[in-house]
């Protein structure tokens, strides 16, 4: 087993609406031997609202966390959340820019000099750890569960900033799920936006965009959708009953975090994967997996 340690930034949803992502991420990393060392007293990255107000403010909110991570002595800070990831990466590039660095640091109590490299937990598992290595540790294959992998719009885009996988047709989760014994179906809307945080101020937008995604997954014949983003998962899972009422899909389709299914295949204790938190019942899928 490969041992590696990274600084860890959970993000606000980890202590709120996406507890199951947080718990299953930790359980999977534990099973793989990836040590997640949580940043002490981390704060919000600013999420989307901050960059819509001001880019330096946004960079500083993320920069505080990069400065804290920098003092831990690791070369990578990993986060499960793509929204946190894009903010942390944007901030790191600004701090590396001599023209902008002082503007960001002027807002911080403790300046950030050399930001550590932010990566998604998905990227750490697939690139630094390796899919082949993961495949060797599979104990309970997913028994041909038919899944589509949905990456969300910013896990890989824009490519110059995110530097991970193919920007329009990413394969990282597909490869992991295949290694875990799922049947991965081609999914044309892998990086199409779910409507993000419009759900609260403009629900109609999320109904349509997430509706399109659920509809496509159903048309593909998927038993389940696999996601890697707290906001995407919430739009597709929690709002699925609203979307069904609008006629986009005919029957419920469970929406897992990739870490929940990977954890299952790695033989992790089910209780730490928190399937009980999913709104659309995963029961039929879990029965299919256990045969």
């Amino acid at each position: 087993m490969k041992k590696t340690t990274v600084a860890y930034y959970p993000g606000c949803s980890a202590v709120g609406t996406s507890v199951e992502y947080e718990k299953s991420t930790r359980a999977v990393c534990d099973a793989l031997g990836i040590q997640l060392e949580e940043i002490q007293d981390w704060s919000c990255c600013g999420s989307s609202p901050a960059h819509t107000v001001n880019h330096i403010l946004s960079a500083a909110l993320s920069g505080r966390n990069l400065a804290l991570a920098g003092s831990m002595g690791h070369d990578t800070v990993a986060t499960p959340c793509p929204s946190c990831l894009i903010n942390l990466r944007t901030s790191a590039r600004k701090i590396e820019d001599p023209k902008l660095c002082h503007k960001v640091n002027a807002l911080l109590e403790d300046p950030c000099e050399n930001p550590v490299e932010p990566k998604s937990v998905l990227q750490v598992i697939v690139e630094d750890y390796g899919v082949d290595e993961v495949a060797r540790l599979i104990r309970k294959p997913l028994n041909g569960l038919k899944v589509v992998c949905y990456y969300g719009c910013i896990m890989t885009r824009p490519p110059e900033l995110m530097r991970f996988d193919d920007p329009e047709n990413p394969m990282a989760m597909d490869d992991l799920m295949e290694a875990a014994g799922a049947e991965v179906l081609p999914f044309p809307l892998k990086v199409e936006c779910c409507g993000a945080s419009s759900g609260i101020p403009r629900k109609d937008i999320v109904m349509r965009l997430s509706g399109k995604l659920l509809h496509a997954a159903e048309e593909c014949g998927a038993d389940a959708i696999v996601s890697a983003c707290p906001l995407c998962q919430m739009n597709l899972d929690l709002r699925q009953s609203q979307i069904r009422k609008e006629g986009y899909i005919s029957k419920p389709i469970p929406v897992f975090y990739f870490t929940q299914l990977l954890g299952t295949a790695l033989g992790v204790d089910k209780r730490s994967l928190r399937f009980d938190k999913l709104v659309v019942s995963p029961k039929r899928c879990l029965e299919k997996i256990s045969g």
Partner: protein, 175 residues
């Protein structure tokens, strides 16, 4: 300063390079909800139509999904340009999508206060201020049954460090 120069300086993008291929609009998932398509906004910037651009609903509805930025053949970071238009719309007191702006403000107030966003508190405040109380009431039973929301903030230890980021930002009069 004329509009195109201001947007170019603040975004670091050469908006003048846009030759109206329409790739941004073709891939924009939000286009159905826009009053002005994103390629037309780029044209408005080039031709100096400040008010038309800043008063659009589109600048508030953009979800920063990066499709346009990824697909622009002239390497214009279109998302960044949309962000800058939103910054300028804010500065000139425009709010053609009042609820979108209110959501961002409520979110950041929560971060300023607790160091992390307190989801339940933010949502209650947004509902009260927007009058949008019934919008997602049908989700409440599921949210409660699954304990999706924590009904207590989880502030960080050094709340002041985050509060001070906002304070310095306001004092510096950042643009």
């Amino acid at each position: 300063m004329d509009f195109v120069r201001e947007v170019e300086e603040r975004s670091g993008q050469k908006v003048a390079r846009c030759y109206q291929c329409g790739n941004c609009t073709a891939g924009c998932p939000y286009n159905f909800a826009y009053d002005i398509p994103v390629n037309k906004l780029m044209r408005y910037i080039q031709s100096g139509k400040r008010d038309k651009a800043l008063e659009s609903k589109a600048v508030w509805l953009c979800g920063s999904c990066q499709s346009c930025t990824t697909r622009c053949p002239n390497n214009i970071d279109v998302c960044r340009v949309m962000d800058v238009l939103r910054h300028m719309a804010r500065e000139s007191g425009k709010k053609s999508e009042r609820k979108v702006r209110l959501f961002a403000d409520t979110f950041l107030e929560s971060v300023e206060k607790h160091g992390r966003v307190y989801e339940a508190g933010m949502m209650a405040k947004f509902a009260a201020q927007s009058g949008n109380v019934l919008g997602d009431l049908d989700l409440a039973p599921m949210v409660l049954a699954k304990h999706k929301l924590k009904f207590r903030p989880h502030p960080i230890r050094k709340r002041k460090a985050v509060e001070d980021i906002f304070k310095r930002f306001r004092e510096n009069g950042h643009k």
